[in-house]
């Protein structure tokens, strides 16, 4: 009898010790449960970002931008006297990681607003959680499925559809009809060939080959060989670094002459570094930040973009990427709405929806109850790479 009691006691003891150890570590981080919609005290903003994993080239600059901005707001007295408590979680670039992080932020930390994720797949995973918790969420990712029909979810990155529209415009102007596509196999690339076919129908654009690549792929020979064999007029590579840059390199390596279009997922220095000389001559529709110095003087975005670039550079010693820009937009729109409406979820959401003509880094935002993305194709410029630097091709059409 005693032996079993002893073993049971040990079991309990071990569990207790383990829990205590974890508890000690945990309590330093997030606190215990607090009631939601608190009218005073710190405003909690949770951010789920791809800090490690395939999306690290997005998540890391996003985190840096958010940390910088939160510090700026807090040193300026906060929002209506309330400080911002920024809680950043790493989703490890996976859907499950995003769900786990969002779940924790929503139910354990009781955040007032959720930012994230960096990419489409994890954002889609977070969406049902935000909607079930009835808290506003601002995604930093591209696919419009993230906000379609949603009451609580918004986004600041340009919709992929808008990007495609811009690219189609350029393809039409240059007379490219047969397009080959190499796309990211994850949520970011899902539906792109179909979208291109649909948007490009009137321009006579046809998709002649579709190849997929894993976000962490390093060898693209198979895909590019097949694309070369399809003899397209132009090729669209739809992915993020490092895959997008390696694909670019492989494409040029095989001596394929047709011009390359890239998505708006390449908007950072990491892409240029990895792609090197093979990036020269590509065409992409990107946000204005990368070519801020080439913007017109009366562009309403110019002062916003310029300040962001100089603040970021002063703090981190390098230029920000477009993804840092998406984070900037998410945060500033959130702050503006918090200033207007406080932390009550419904009022906050309404305030977000009423964002109008607000110049940000990714574009000029106008949200409506039916449009939670707020950007049109005017937010983008056609850009190319010349001698390893971004260069504007033309103004917005």
């Amino acid at each position: 009898m005693t032996r079993n009691v002893r073993s049971a006691t040990t079991v309990v003891a071990i569990i207790a010790v383990a829990l205590a150890a974890a508890g000690c570590a945990e309590s330093a981080g997030s606190g215990g449960a607090t009631s939601s919609g608190s009218a005073s005290g710190d405003i909690k903003i949770g951010a789920v970002l791809d800090i490690t994993g395939a999306g690290a080239s997005l998540g890391v600059p996003e985190r840096q931008a958010l940390e910088m901005l939160a510090a700026q707001v807090n040193s300026g007295g906060g929002v209506n006297g309330r400080k911002i408590n920024l809680l950043i979680e790493d989703d490890q670039s996976t859907e499950a990681g995003a769900a786990k992080a969002a779940s924790k932020l929503l139910s354990t930390d009781n955040v007032d607003l959720l930012l994230g994720a960096s990419r489409t797949g994890p954002s889609l995973a977070m969406r049902p959680l935000a909607e079930a918790a009835k808290k506003p969420m601002i995604s930093l990712a591209a696919n419009q499925k993230i906000v379609e029909g949603s009451k609580w979810v918004f986004k600041t990155a340009q919709n992929d559809r808008v990007v495609i529209e811009r690219l189609v415009g350029d393809m039409k102007a240059n007379g490219y009809k047969n397009i080959a596509i190499a796309r990211d196999a994850s949520g970011f690339g899902e539906g792109i060939p179909e979208m291109l076919t649909e948007v490009g129908k009137d321009a006579g654009i046809k998709v002649v080959k579709v190849e997929k690549f894993a976000p962490d792929a390093t060898d693209f020979t198979a895909q590019m060989v097949n694309i070369r064999a399809a003899k397209p007029d132009a090729t669209l590579i739809w992915g993020i670094p490092p895959a997008a840059s390696l694909a670019q390199v492989a494409y040029k390596q095989l001596g394929i002459k047709a011009p390359v279009y890239q998505s708006h997922g390449i908007g950072n220095q990491v892409f240029l570094d990895a792609a090197g000389a093979s990036a020269n001559g590509l065409r992409a529709a990107l946000g204005k930040m990368l070519v801020a110095d080439q913007l017109a003087g009366n562009d309403p975005q110019k002062p916003v973009v310029a300040k962001f670039i100089s603040d970021y550079k002063a703090k981190y010693g390098q230029n920000p990427s477009t993804f840092a820009g998406h984070a900037y937009d998410g945060f500033t729109i959130a702050i503006a709405s918090l200033k207007k409406a406080g932390t009550d979820p419904n009022k906050l959401r309404d305030a977000l929806e009423s964002t109008s003509s607000s110049p940000g880094v990714s574009g000029v935002f106008t949200m409506t109850p039916t449009d939670h993305s707020g950007l049109t194709k005017e937010a983008l410029v056609m850009v190319t790479v010349e001698n390893g630097k971004w260069k504007v091709l033309d103004g917005p059409k």
């Binding site: 490690t52 198979a222 390596q253």
Partner: protein
């Protein structure tokens, strides 16, 4: 046709990297029955270290030459600190042990180098086109180095006294000890050789395939598959197996669905293990139980 050649060529280059990793598995297993699950991490470590060295201003080839002994030292340290103290080494124990080592190494690399994949600058040389096939100079380096290293390793194990002594250790440890061959030294040398081939695989492949804290896993696993084709005891078959595996993967990606390319290696592994188990046992005596 040039498509096919292109696929085969890039498959061979990738396969040579697999083969180099495979040599490391065989080096250890043929001396002591340990499957070193940390083999792939040697490659990542070498690649990342070389990248740091180059970023710090060290000339490329010099960095490569310096990094390889570094990783060899790490491998020997691993043997000393983690493998030697274990008193009763069974397959289960060795797997868990090397798994732990692999995990710790990965995490250390993550902490030190961060999560992003990085590339070493390509070795000197020019890319060119031959018979419609685009050939990167780095690919030539990979194949050349792989050939030289394989030859050297085989020559060591089969034609030098030291190498033969190592093999003796595996087959008859007690007899070997009576002859003055120390199993401890043998294990250490085996780990050193494994570190060597892994490091070479890492630096020579990094310019094309990139190095990151997590790139060792699939590389190690595929190297293991190549090694099992040789029964974990044949260096020649391990290298050839690696080449074959690389080509199979490339063809599968090109003519089949690209997404399944990673599965190719493991389907091959399962087929080999199931269809020819006798060929893989160290002692083929027909004992089934």
């Amino acid at each position: 046709m040039s498509d096919l050649l292109q696929l085969v060529w890039s498959g061979l280059a990738l396969g040579a990297v697999y083969g180099l990793v495979a040599l490391g598995f065989v080096a250890i297993f043929s001396v002591r029955e340990i499957v070193n699950l940390a083999q792939g991490e040697y490659a990542s470590l070498a690649g990342l270290s070389a990248i740091s060295a180059v970023a710090a201003g060290v000339p490329l080839l010099f960095a490569v030459v310096v990094v390889v002994p570094f990783v060899v030292a790490v491998s020997v340290a691993v043997e000393r600190v983690a493998v030697r103290p274990v008193r009763h080494m069974t397959p289960l124990v060795s797997i868990i042990l090397t798994l732990g080592i692999s995990t710790a190494l990965k995490a250390a690399m993550l902490l030190f180098w961060g999560p992003e994949a990085k590339a070493l600058p390509a070795f000197p040389g020019k890319d060119f086109v031959f018979a419609g096939v685009s050939v990167r100079s780095q690919e030539l380096w990979i194949l050349g180095v792989a050939a030289v290293v394989s030859y050297a390793v085989v020559a060591f194990y089969e034609h030098t006294t030291a190498g033969k002594a190592l093999r003796a250790c595996a087959e008859q440890p007690i007899a070997a000890r009576l002859l003055g061959i120390s199993p401890r030294t043998a294990t250490m040398v085996a780990f050193a050789i494994a570190g060597f081939t892994g490091a070479v695989a890492g630096v020579v492949g990094s310019p094309i395939y990139l190095s990151s804290w997590s790139s060792g896993l699939t590389l190690g696993l595929k190297g293991f598959v190549a090694a099992t084709l040789g029964g974990l005891v044949s260096f020649r078959v391990a290298m050839l197996g690696g080449l074959l595996l690389g080509v199979l993967e490339s063809l599968a990606a090109g003519y089949g669905a690209t997404g399944y390319r990673d599965a190719v290696a493991f389907v091959v592994l399962l087929l080999v293990l199931l269809v020819r188990p006798q060929g893989l046992a160290l002692k083929a005596t027909g004992v089934r139980v």
